[in-house]
Symmetry: C2
Subunit: 476 residues, 2 copies
Amino acid sequence: MMTIKDVNPNLIQAQYAVRGKITNRAQELEDKGRKIIYCNIGNPQALKQKPVTFIRQVLSLLEYPELMDMPEAKKIYPADVISRAKLIMQKNPNGTGAYTMSSGIAFIREAIAEFIKNRDGIPTDKNKIILTDGASKGVQAALTLILKGGNDGVMIPIPQYPLYSATLALYGAKQIGYFLDESNSWQLNEKILNDSIEDSKKKGINPVAIAVINPGNPTGAVLSKDNMEMIIRFAKKNNLSLLADEVYQENVYLDGIKFISFAKVMHDMNEKEVTLFSFHSVSKGFLGECGHRGGYFEIRNMAEEVFEQLIKLQSLGLCSNVDGQIVTYLMVAPPKPGEESYELYKKERDGIMNELKAKSRILGEGLNEINGMECEVPHGAMYAFVKFELPHKHGVDVSKMSVDERYAYDSKRDFEYCLALLEETGICVVPGSGFGQLPGTMHFRTTILPPRADISSLVEQMKKFHTNYVKNMLVE
Amino acid sequence: MMTIKDVNPNLIQAQYAVRGKITNRAQELEDKGRKIIYCNIGNPQALKQKPVTFIRQVLSLLEYPELMDMPEAKKIYPADVISRAKLIMQKNPNGTGAYTMSSGIAFIREAIAEFIKNRDGIPTDKNKIILTDGASKGVQAALTLILKGGNDGVMIPIPQYPLYSATLALYGAKQIGYFLDESNSWQLNEKILNDSIEDSKKKGINPVAIAVINPGNPTGAVLSKDNMEMIIRFAKKNNLSLLADEVYQENVYLDGIKFISFAKVMHDMNEKEVTLFSFHSVSKGFLGECGHRGGYFEIRNMAEEVFEQLIKLQSLGLCSNVDGQIVTYLMVAPPKPGEESYELYKKERDGIMNELKAKSRILGEGLNEINGMECEVPHGAMYAFVKFELPHKHGVDVSKMSVDERYAYDSKRDFEYCLALLEETGICVVPGSGFGQLPGTMHFRTTILPPRADISSLVEQMKKFHTNYVKNMLVE
């Protein structure tokens, strides 16, 4: 019988805090009847965000194509929904139940190319787009392609979304962390990048790529064009591929700030050397269709024979799920002004975006006012990454700790803190140690997703919890 | 820019013939307007098999839940479809758009446990079931768990479904091939297993598991209980985990033969040591819902701490797509006698199964009659694995070839043969070298899936092609 010594040691090493011990404990409590507020994961429809009607109407017809021609259909569905579903059936006559090409249905890849072209004003090749079961699978495919084993390493932000660290551990590759600059709205810092890559080389690591999450998870940062140009120059100088995680591209809240894609910046720099993988998803934005596991990645500056290897890799899993492909299509080709569904679509889209924007402000500002907590009001994405402070217990002298000891000490403390928050309030957040943080600091990540009406009480509960937690520490 | 020397060498090694060069060529020809008959892949709905109505009706309501309560719904859907959709919404209130638990929705795992219990008459634990995006992803998860790197190897059948060889290559693990016994309806042979594992150990390989595909792909074999008991004893003696690929469990055509699960045989042997992974899918059987990427795997005899590692692995991809999970649920919990949908469901199920059964016989018998071709009429699954012979060109003396040279020689010939078949007739099959075969033999795999009306003409075209191909060789 298999025991733990028979298990892939790389898997044992991999850590994924977004669904770790604290979430398991939350599930246990919920099974016992406790009310849990899941702020650990960007899962909007689990927190009462309604699906966009147009998307679901089209899907419902495609699942049951006979319905399109029934007289009742006209009473249920707007005309453009029916004609759109018919168009999809015509372009993909095998329907939702057949395997597609490994890279995804051709007309959907065309629509994605058109979307990128319109978003960025740059030429785009539909044959360099691959549909995936969510963006995570795309990231894992890219890493599978580029990691040759041994000492290959990938630069990842600290803090980062732990898919990256976990996948690198799983694939036996090295992670080269680079700190984001909390004092500069979590932008990347050229000196830190240079120091970090030089340090990794001294350790015998072979850096092959840099991963950048923009808008940032967990930081909520939106990168400036200057910052992105610096990153591209850095990647070029060091012969790194660039993994651009752009799944939160629609989630920008701060007035005057907008999302710019790496594809666009590279195009404007006339950069033709840096291999770019850019990832997108139907799970975020205002769709929040996490359960449909849809997404794509687009590739630039890659030799054809390399791309063929990527397609072969995708073919092993045959193809991504067709409904997810269709949701991706509808994301990039929504109803147009003048079409019957457009007004409702616009209303729902703007409604969700306005809520997210308001909630990011209420939550960010509210948490900032708590004594001992500090956070940037999120510029984008779906999270606040909150720095907090705790007193040290009597007899603990942090000045005598090494950097590693200090990191371990704080990691234990932020974990215990988040666990206590869950036990006491039912609020489930993820400790900063699950994402990485500067030694000597502690954070937690919370989503901004609970319904707006609940956010103020959430902040209130956190304040009360934090105050008591600190008070009890001082008493001990 | 990434060039081929920057690519993961394990990926370059991996081969997946079911979607390889011949399929790409078929796609090219189709794009130019040629009619292609895709017999390369078990993709029933691409070959005009209709989806089962009940499945799609329930899905269409779940995608657009408002529809359930509209007055029109009663005119469109049978009452049990509506009540089933409502039940699913009640059990999974977040709907199809939210991430689920990493292992899948709890009530669906319960229904699967109930299905296994009823199928086999054995106790089943819902907490040892994990839902996946099709069975391939389950196989890859299991292999990720059990391969510790270095010299770990997995025993796989020859011929095999190339997911296994490709994934082992990708993971840098060793494949330990064991030949299936073509002269004994492709059953496993104890002496061959023993010789094969001993030989691998001599090469320094550490065998950790044996993969068995039952019903067989590409062979169409259905294993006898005796054969399965032998395999379990063999696994136990050699401390191997057992990967039981049982995705074709519904696809059994020969009268008097039936599918028995490895879980059942292990239970009847009171075997509690061998770790078992058994895989199932919505893509095969009579549903043929390939595009929905649904499936599950069930685990027996595994330490809890090992299982936790598997759950962690699944959590990296968050969860399998929800529609696929729901199709899996409907597969294991179909309409019951007395429910309004039952009669249509039964009619569709029996219709599809009868067609498959008839087609397996017509195709198998037809190909058998072609001079120079030989195959077993498939007992199960969706394929015929056809042995064929070709004359040797003037001056070629196969008796002087080493085993490896002979294998390479035949691999080149079966590939060229299948490519010529495609170019000449539009029929797309996969060369035997893509699955593995005894040196000195050549095969191709064809599905039995084209519409029944087309099968006779398919056989006729193959006969004509083969005759001409041989004639031309003799002329050269």
